[in-house]
Amino acid sequence: MHEWALAESVIKTAVEYAGTEKLKKLKETGVLFGELQAIDKEIFLFALEELRKQYPAAASCKFKIIAEPAAFRCKACAHEFPLKGLKKTKDEAEFIHFIPEMAHTFMKCPKCKSPDFEIARGRGVSISYLKGDR
């Protein structure tokens, strides 16, 4: 249930945003799920449902999960590559799930084998949009 901690950060940020923007009702929050972190959608949504009880301002907010494919750009050779095809063990995938930056420890550019690459897209959990009534 590591997802619970991230779900809490999403609902708390959404509620704080609604307060800052003086929204009467928070209607929808877009949540990007970066492919690299491989967050379990079912557990995440379950956590959000539980957390709603603590955050009444998000009682009727719809959380829309949007999958974002991961993309990497090598700093050494400028090669751009996706996650698919990169080798990692089950344990390494688990470590990347907790801290996506561990990708630099366990993965490398498929072209030049450098670990010095940029995670251009699809790292982890972020909020892409918030909708509500003023």
């Binding site: 590591h2 950060s9 708390k12 940020t13 945003y17 801290i99 930056e101 561990m102 909020i127």
Partner: protein, 236 residues
Amino acid sequence: MTNIDPRPSVIGARLGKVKRVIAVTGWKGGIGKSVTAATLALLLAKKGYKAGLFDLDFAGASDHLILGARGIFPKEEKGLEPPVVNGVKFMSVTFFSENKAVPLRGANISDAIIELLAITQWGELDFLVLDMPPGINDAALDIIRFVGRAEVLAVTIPSVLAHDVLARSLELYRKLKVPVLCVIENMSSGRKTAGVSAYIKTDRALENALGHPAALLKTSFARDLSRAAGRFGFPI
């Protein structure tokens, strides 16, 4: 609007039951920052305080070696609960790196630290000791910003180079309005130095005690640190 990072919103709550946060800093390599941080956490735990140790020196993480922490991993429970080593709740990037190099650029280090700050459930602590990244960089600035109430324990050594860098670091902490609890001179010959508030003499037995907390606590290094801690308000 696009891409809000939600993680910083919960960092305050994750540290909500931590009474004091002590950031052990050092601006030169090899001056004993990590040994000081780990030994301070062990001394606090031995005295009966609820103590935590967070190794934030990703490039040179070594607190796990000092504590002799092997075969442990955080428990997944609404985040990550740090395992307890000799009475100290302990978190380190080494849990996730299989003791391999962590080749991260500055922004990546910041991102990884924010992730760990957001998901680590420290629970109730009297003291959380942070083993800070060396010097000041974006990661160190992020920690100071997100943790918000860290008090600095600065480590230096008897060298004009270390002291010059230290003077600049203290000036920066003043500008950032970060309180400095104490400046400890490690590997000291005992000669008084301006600006230093406590001394730890060179302890040749220290190296062999690394990895063995019980032995570490019996070293003259630990005794000197304990005495120094008394000066900045920790009766250990």
